[in-house]
């Protein structure tokens, strides 16, 4: 644990994708329109399994939009129209046969602003397993709640107050609760949209450690505005600009040797 933390704080990014990693999500030619306005232009991106893929780019460049394509969250926006091919384990997630509700159980999401349900901590975590009928009985459900909270690194702080409202936790705890809520349904992919933007450095550090632990078992895609966070937690980085995927590669390469001048400008802070 401490060794890992050391590694994370190293200034030089070392993130690389293992060549043997399989592609979990493959996006090809993704275009997206909000009404008449196009927000994504032919995005091609592979997201490897058991790795963390970071998406960076200036505000409004379409990072969240792309992330929300991956679990069809954009379906809830009336004006949004998606075109292109996104495959999860080789299966087209926009195919007719795919139920978006079921898809979202496989591709979980943690949002930018912590949004626990205004219910008890226990209920927050138990909700997903319950609606999916994952747990057989109360005991199994308790078990899931405990392991999820442990995985999210929140257990020690809340084990005596599971009945208290989730909204009563601190911001960082709420975000970890949301992570516990996401992993409780045992997804294959976890999408995180700026999960630390509302948190202080200590809470951020905890979440980053958590991400590194989770990547052993999950495929993770994270949107972040913090260059250093991308460098610390991800093995692959994708740089978006004005709805276009400008550059993508192993994090170590992107940060030390960007190919595109726009990427270079962005990571050196010349625009944003």
């Amino acid at each position: 644990m401490s060794e890992q933390a050391e590694g994370v704080r190293m200034s030089r990014p070392v993130g690389r994708v293992d060549e043997r990693a399989s592609v979990k999500i493959a996006a090809r030619g993704v275009n997206l329109w909000y009404g008449d306005k196009q927000a994504l232009f032919s995005v091609d991106l592979d997201i490897p399994d058991n790795h963390v893929t970071a998406m960076i780019g200036p505000s409004g460049c379409g990072k969240s939009t792309f992330l929300r394509c991956l679990n069809r969250m954009n379906d809830t926006i009336d004006s949004a129209r998606v075109q292109g091919d996104i495959r999860l384990d080789g299966q087209d997630i926009y195919a007719k046969s795919i139920d978006p509700v079921q898809l979202r159980a496989r591709v979980g999401m943690v949002f930018q602003k912590p949004n626990p349900f205004p219910k008890s901590i226990y209920e927050n975590v138990a909700y997903g397993p319950r609606i999916h009928g994952i747990a057989a009985g109360k005991k199994a459900l308790d078990e899931i709640v405990v392991t999820s909270l442990k995985k999210a690194g929140l257990w020690d702080e809340v084990k005596d107050r599971l009945d208290e409202p989730g909204t009563g936790l601190s911001g960082g705890q709420q975000q970890r609760l949301c992570i516990a809520r996401a992993i409780a349904v045992n997804p294959e992919v976890i999408l995180m949209d700026e999960p630390c933007s509302a948190l202080d450095p200590i809470a951020t550090d905890r979440i980053e450690q958590l991400i590194l632990e989770l990547k052993e078992n999950y495929c993770i895609a994270i949107v972040t505005h913090s260059m250093s966070q991308a460098a610390r937690v991800s093995q692959r980085t994708a740089f978006f600009h004005l709805g276009v995927l400008v550059e993508m590669g192993d994090t170590a390469d992107i940060f030390t040797n960007p190919q595109d001048p726009r990427t270079q400008d962005y990571i050196t802070g010349r625009f944003g």
């Binding site: 809830t76 509700v101 979202r104 349900f117 205004p118």
Partner: protein
């Protein structure tokens, strides 16, 4: 503050001080106007309350007179059958007359005096009380019993000081000799004022001293029950559909505009609609709380729909996203997360709508819930009255005693409204704790 001449930034110059002073003046002026508005509104309310309670409170007391009547079997049950049906038809009026003439023998021989004497007592009330007593205690037939019966409405009003007794006798409702009898009864303890149970337990009557709101209260209750059962689920479901599921297009915009318009339609129009559709077309019973409730439900629906949509809109979208994000279906996210949060607002809207419905008169007049109802309605299809209609009917009656009863009925109506609002507040706080 003005003495700090040393620094003259744009926020410290004398000009800035003047601007600041003006800002405070404007604020003070606004606060003053707001206060005036509140004071005006409160004094209007206080005036209204004072006038209603001032006239109405006296109706909660009613004067009663004692009679000592001999229950002559010849007049009640000459064949000694003991059959309640026979006893019900007994000649209680004569029994009452005899009891009263026995009390004041000096009046018994003069026809004019006799008539005046009978006007001291509530004849219909006394007859009814005697009948009820006999039916309750058939064994007492033949005995001489002492009963309290209501005084006539004029005597009651006189004792409550509603009549000016200084004007000449011809201009008053009560004559000098009647006043003398009343004083005599008072002196001997045969006349007292007590709580007016009749007002709550009786139904409508031609005699003010026997009139009560029971039928109206029950009628209003049934009508509101129908209103609630129809409008709450329908309104909430419609609002959820419109807000969460319906595609946003011209047609739904059109529906939305129309719902908002419906909320502004005068209630009598709904009454006309009820008359044309529910009564004439579907042939539902006239004067029934069922139809009244249906009409009021139409009126309440827009209120509930608008309130529900507003409170659904107020639920932060992040909650929906959180639920959808763990794989809840749309309906699940709404039922498990959005609705509980919207509930306080929905309930408040519903209760406001129901309170409006409770006070609504015009549409009920249209569908005939204005009948003179002397029996407490047994179901939602038996003819009934409603509280506001009762107020309307009583306010239209000429006798002086109706005035205070009208106000009393308003007080009872206000009491129910307060109760409903209390329930709203309680429910609100109950649901709000779950935030």
């Amino acid at each position: 503050m003005a003495s700090t001449e040393v620094k003259t930034g744009i926020h410290t110059s004398p000009e800035a001080a003047r601007r600041l002073a003006r800002r405070y003046r404007q604020e003070a002026f606004f606060q003053f106007m707001g206060l005036i508005a509140i004071v005006l509104a409160l004094s209007a309310l206080a005036w209204l309350m004072a006038s209603i309670f001032g006239t109405g409170l006296s109706a909660f007391r009613q004067h009663e007179v004692q009679i000592t009547a001999s229950l002559d079997p010849e007049l009640i049950d000459p064949e000694r059958t003991g059959d309640p049906e026979v006893m019900r038809r007994g000649d209680y009026r004569t029994i009452l007359q005899r009891a009263i003439y026995d009390r004041f023998p000096e009046a018994a021989d003069d026809r004019k005096l006799r008539l005046q004497l009978m006007e001291v007592y509530s004849v219909a009330g006394g007859t009814g009380f005697l009948r009820d007593f006999v039916l309750d205690n058939p064994g007492r037939v033949g005995d001489t019993v002492t009963l309290w019966i209501p005084a006539s409405d004029d005597v009651d009003q006189m004792l409550k000081g509603k009549f000016d007794l200084d004007v000449p006798q011809e201009l008053r409702k009560v004559t000098d000799v009647q006043i003398a009898w009343v004083r005599e009864l008072q002196a001997s303890g045969e006349l007292r004022a007590s709580f007016n149970k009749i007002l709550f337990l009786n139904t409508d009557s031609r005699d003010p001293e026997l009139a009560g709101v029971a039928a109206a209260v029950v009628g209003s209750f049934y009508a509101l029950l129908v209103t609630f059962v129809l409008s709450f689920p329908m309104g909430v479901a419609a609002a959820i559909y419109l807000e969460e599921f319906a595609p946003k297009n011209r047609f739904t915009d059109f529906i939305e505009v129309n719902i908002n318009n419906l909320a502004a339609v005068p209630s009598i129009v709904f009454g006309l609609l009820g008359l044309a559709v529910f009564l004439n077309f579907f042939g539902l019973p006239r004067s029934a709380p069922l139809v009244g409730g249906m009409v009021l439900a139409l009126m309440t629906l827009p209120t509930i729909i608008i309130a529900t949509r507003a409170s659904l809109k107020a639920v932060p979208p992040s909650i929906r996203e959180g639920a959808l994000g763990v794989g809840a279906s749309k309906l699940q996210s709404i039922y498990h997360h959005v609705l509980p949060l919207a509930m306080p607002g929905i309930l408040t809207g519903t209760i406001i709508g129901m309170a409006q419905a409770l006070g609504e008169t015009a549409p009920l007049l249209m569908i005939g819930m204005v009948a003179f109802v002397t029996q407490i309605p047994e179901s939602i299809t038996t003819p009934a009255s409603a509280l506001p209609v009762q107020v309307f009917l009583w306010s239209d009656s000429p006798e002086r005693a109706w005035e205070e009863r009208t106000s009393a009925a308003i007080i009872i109506l206000l009491g129910f409204l307060t109760l409903m609002n209390l329930v709203a507040v309680l429910l609100r706080s109950r649901f709000e704790r779950r935030w």
